[in-house]
Amino acid sequence: MIPAAFDYVVPATVDDAVRELHDAGDEAKVLAGGQSLLPVLRMRLAAPSKIVDIGRITELRGVRDAGDHIVIGATTPHHEVQHNQLVREHALLLALATETVADPQVRHLGTFGGALAHADPAGDLLAPALALDCTFVVAGMDGRHEVPASEFFVDYFTTALRPGELLLEVRVPKYTGWRAHYEKFNRVAQAWSICGVAAAVRVDNGTIAEARVGLTNMSSVPVRARGVEEALVGQQASPEVIKAAAARAVDGTLPTADGNADAEYREHLAKVLTERAVTAACS
């Protein structure tokens, strides 16, 4: 299908991009990898008057070490995140979740920041970003500011980004030496998650010293499974402990019903998958 007509601009710098966005008010859309935006445009579910292509702003792409955290640029493609050594060493959970996104073609074009800013509750990167307490760096006409992950995801396809603002990068605290697992449940390989569980643990002598667990598609926004985390911390990583902790996975969730799963089934899945994700992370 053919999108409605729009103006297309390709700014070279963040400042230019922000100005273009500001000038267009809420009529503009940001184009990064285009893997979500282009279908929306082609199906005419959205008809922005201006597309701001940020693909040529070099500072937005790549992963770097920033001391106590790593920084992932918004336009870094999934493929790069998935294979980046810094990510694998300090934020393994993100690399593992990224491996499950769509298919190789999409992972070469789709971007880390684009997927987060799109905020599809069935997207796989939201729960890990939340569980790992990432920080989102945002630019607007009034300068740059930071938004914690816990405040970034507002509702279905809605983030704390305001019209005229651009997501620049994501800061990920270092979880060096943590173990992780992303348990994705879907019906065909390239489909969105029906439910997903992101788990990262620091195991010390068989004891779970720290745990971080996030849930995909269990509400309109990603959910931090704090009940599960609390039940795990300080405990031996035994099947019984993990099973009991996983039973708390549905605390704070608000699952929806769709063709793949009703709320009851989603809640059941969340528990089963949490048990599996934590077990895999601990082993």
Binding site: I2, L37, A119, V188, G259, Y265
Partner: protein
């Protein structure tokens, strides 16, 4: 002695089509561009049933680049009614089927207006400026409700939602006993109801049509399976003489029956090109395709199987409801009838009764989809055989063996009145069991059950047959089908010794160019590379019945063999003249024509040149070796095979994983094993997809909620196991090639094998059926409720694109 060349038939040649198809160096319809070409786009109804109270196109006509905007009323005089070629009963109800809706829309996606503009973008933009007011009417969706007393009607003028009822009864036909007697005398009577969910054909290349009215003939390029039928039908619908229409199906990217159609879009594009005097092209979007191109399956099957306590089958009663959708397209009402003769499958029984009621609903019309009627039949009987085995505590293969037609009993006339010419179910099954490791898997299944493993193993069996090679014309006539089932081929012997083959079949991915070249190379003794196969253009291929129903090789290939034999007969006559001997003394072998008992010889190429220059021909001989033939089969062909599927069912999540899949197919003599292998792989993938993934779901308003591939799930290689394929070869006796057809086999066989395996995995947990597609939620619910799981959680789309809210969206 010259070395005898390796026969072409039986060689696993790479397909000569593939280089151009894989690299995109071909012309699909949408790639074609003509001088002055205009673009057409359709506005489609968002509602399933409504009276059109107003359409205002005035604003759209003012949009940039717009040449014309038409509604149904604007073309009412010209558009006629879309053809239904299969009025299955005398009293069938056939609603008027306009290409553009005039007063009323009957399914969501029905075209209500068309814009023609200078560019495709301008045409799409102008659609948004058309103002339509819909006066909504009650929506009819459920077949049982549609047939109830006082039901809302899809077409009030017909007075009913019942389209037709078609009956076959073995007692009436004289092919068997009375079903009521069989049931009364049986020790075991099993009754089940299965739902064949609605499927969307999902061919790779979306439909596209380009019409050039500037010549003396109006030329229609279309991504169609049926250029010859389309030419006839365009003429019938529009009144334009058939001599003034030329149809070309260029390379076509898949069809699976989905392009066995005369579409509203083809008719409207044709009318607009003619009206405007300029070439007009329309290409659909994927969303349009899913909503408005015809769907497949959609039946409710009530099956009663009667047997003796020792497992001997006594009788089978089939009561079907078949969803026609809103209109009868080309063969819509006949699709379930293609299954009518197949429910008894490979089994012997005393009595059989089939009754199908076709029902109108406010949904996209259904029509042929890979297998068309036969997958539905095979699913029902193969599921029932597993249920009977469970009921009697028998091994499902053992029970089948007891009841199937033995290889020495062929030819065998079935209780449905068909005569199966050949088959060897024992051989195919034995081979499949060995490849599968059946006993070891049964052992593992027992162990998993005993230790209460959360992952249970199930084994599914499907010993299918099908009737294909469509079709004997006299049988089609008896079934009230409006056309014949013959096929045509001709061969041109060119002066350089090269050979042009013209076939009436219309390949759209099957590889006919390769296979036909192999057949002709063998038959005429010419190099494979010297044969060119022409097809799909009614100006070159003037006569044909096109490709569907696994017919091309068994019927079209036979016509080709007959034409080749006629070339040889002419060549012998001329060679005898050239070599100064009696025609009876000429021997033809491997392209050489030799005087018996001598070394005097010539070859087919020299004879072709001799005929072409025509300087010295025998008395009364025409200056040509060219020949043609039309073959009308005496019987259908009956491929069969044994498919075995092992699944692992995760009882905690309901997820089904196919552990192994073995199929041994008997498609008769094989021309190209590589092509057969490809057909089986694709067919099995589509059959598995019905069992596990695909489902066209409508919400209560009649809106298709699985309208994108984000929600309508198709498996990719990542979701499927590595198939183990093998063959037995029992040649068909009804054609000289011995070929039976393979296009639909995998799809027909696979679906019940998978569902049988899933049910087998969890039967000990109290489950005896799971509705298709066997989604994780349905399987989980069946396991945990220990009963049959029906229905879904409602019609909303899943995550992803299908649920994107335009007001939110990416920033």
């Amino acid at each position: 002695m010259t070395a005898v060349a390796e026969p072409e038939v039986g060689r696993a040649r790479l397909r000569k089509e593939d280089a151009r198809l894989i690299t995109g160096r071909t012309r699909w319809t949408d790639n074609l561009s003509l001088p002055g070409m205009l673009h057409l786009a359709f506005l489609r109804s968002p509602v399933a049933h409504a009276r059109i109270s107003k359409i205002d196109t005035s604003a759209a006509k003012q949009k940039p680049g717009v040449i014309a905007v038409v509604t149904g009323a604007d073309v009412a005089e010209e558009q006629g009614s879309l053809p239904c070629a299969w009025p299955i009963t005398e009293d069938i109800k056939i609603p008027n089927a306009p290409s553009l809706a005039v007063d009323e829309v009957n399914f969501a996606g029905e075209a209500v207006a068309a814009v023609v503009a200078r560019s495709a973008a301008e045409a799409v933009d102008a659609l948004e400026a058309i103002d339509v007011e819909y006066d909504e009417l009650p929506v009819v969706l459920d077949m049982n409700e549609a047939l109830a007393e006082g039901a809302d009607l899809v077409h009030p003028e017909l007075g009913t939602n019942k389209c037709a009822t078609w009956v076959f009864d073995s007692a009436e036909a004289g092919s068997g006993g009375a079903i009521d007697d069989a049931i009364a005398q049986a020790d075991v009577v099993l009754e089940r109801t299965f739902r064949q969910q609605r499927l969307i054909p999902s061919f790779m290349e979306p439909r596209s049509v380009l019409v050039d009215p500037t010549g003396e003939q109006i030329t229609v390029w279309s991504a169609t399976q049926i250029p010859h039928i389309l030419k006839w039908m365009i003429s019938a619908v529009t009144g334009v003489p058939e001599t003034k229409v030329r149809v070309i199906a260029p390379d076509v990217g898949g069809g699976f029956g989905g392009k066995l159609q005369v579409t509203p879009e083809e008719i409207i594009t044709f009318l607009m090109a003619r009206r405007l005097g300029r070439p007009v092209k329309w290409t659909e979007t994927r969303s349009e395709s899913m909503q408005s191109a015809h769907h497949g399956r959609d039946q409710i099957q009530k099956i009663t199987l009667a047997a003796a306590s020792d497992g001997t089958l006594k009788g089978l009663k089939v009561e079907l409801l078949a969803d026609m959708g809103a209109y009868l397209r080309l063969v819509t009402p006949g699709v379930p009838i293609l299954g009518a003769f197949m429910f008894n499958a490979i089994y012997k029984m005393d009595a059989y009764r089939f009754e199908c009621t076709n029902v109108f609903t406010n949904k996209t019309p259904t029509d042929a989809y890979r297998g068309a009627g036969r997958p539905e039949a095979t699913f029902a009987i193969e599921r029932m055989m597993d249920e009977l085995a469970a009921e009697l505590g028998r091994d499902p293969i053992d029970l089948r063996r007891q009841n199937w037609i033995k290889h020495e009993e062929f030819p065998f006339t079935t209780v449905a009145g068909l005569t199966y010419d050949s088959g060897n179910y024992e051989a195919a099954t034995a081979k499949a069991l060995e490849l599968f490791g059946y006993d070891a898997l049964r052992q593992e299944q027992r162990e998993r059950r005993e230790r209460g493993d959360t992952v249970q193993l199930g084994i599914g069996v499907s010993t299918y047959t099908e009737m294909c090679g469509l079709a004997p014309s006299r049988v089609l006539g008896a079934l009230r089908y409006a056309a014949g089932g013959w096929e045509h081929a001709s061969i041109r012997m060119l002066p350089t010794g090269k050979v042009e083959v013209i076939t009436g079949t219309s390949p759209h991915g099957q590889g006919h160019e390769t296979a036909w070249s192999q057949i002709v190379a063998d038959r005429l003794g010419v190099p494979f590379e010297d044969v060119e196969v022409l097809h799909g253009d009614t100006a070159a291929s003037h006569k044909g019945m096109d490709s569907y129903g696994s017919r091309s090789l068994a019927v079209g290939g036979t016509a080709l063999v007959m034409a080749a034999d006629r070339v040889i007969e002419k060549a012998k006559k001329l060679a005898a003249h050239m070599l100064e001997c009696s025609e009876d003394d000429i021997e033809f072998s491997g392209g050489k024509l030799t005087v018996r008992g001598t070394d005097k010889a010539t070859d087919i190429q020299s004879v072709a040149l001799h005929a072409h220059v025509a300087h010295d021909l025998p008395e009364g001989m025409e200056a040509s070796l060219d020949s043609e033939a039309t073959f009308d089969p005496e019987n259908f062909s009956y491929p069969h095979g044994t498919h075995l599927c092992a699944v692992e069912v995760d009882t905690e999540t309901g997820q089904v994983k196919i552990r192994s899949y073995v199929c041994v197919d008997d498609v008769g003599t094989v021309v190209n094993p590589l092509i057969v292998e490809g057909q089986v792989h694709g067919g099995v993938a589509q059959g598995i997809a019905q069992a596990l993934f695909e489902d066209a779901v409508h919400d209560e308003s009649g809106t298709l909620t699985t309208g994108t591939f984000a929600d309508y799930l198709l498996p990719s290689a990542a979701d499927l196991p590595s198939f183990v394929t093998d063959r037995t070869e029992t040649p068909a006796t009804t054609n000289p090639l011995g070929a039976k057809g393979v296009g639909e086999a995998g799809t027909i066989a696979a679906t019940p094998a998978v569902v049988n395996a899933i049910v087998d995995a969890v039967r000990h947990l109290g489950v005896d059926d799971i509705e298709m597609p066997c989604t994780p939620m349905r399987v989980w619910r069946a396991v945990h409720s220990g009963t049959r799981a029906e229905g879904g959680p409602g019609g909303e789309a899943g995550g992803g694109l299908g649920s994107i809210d335009a007001s939110g969206g990416a920033q």
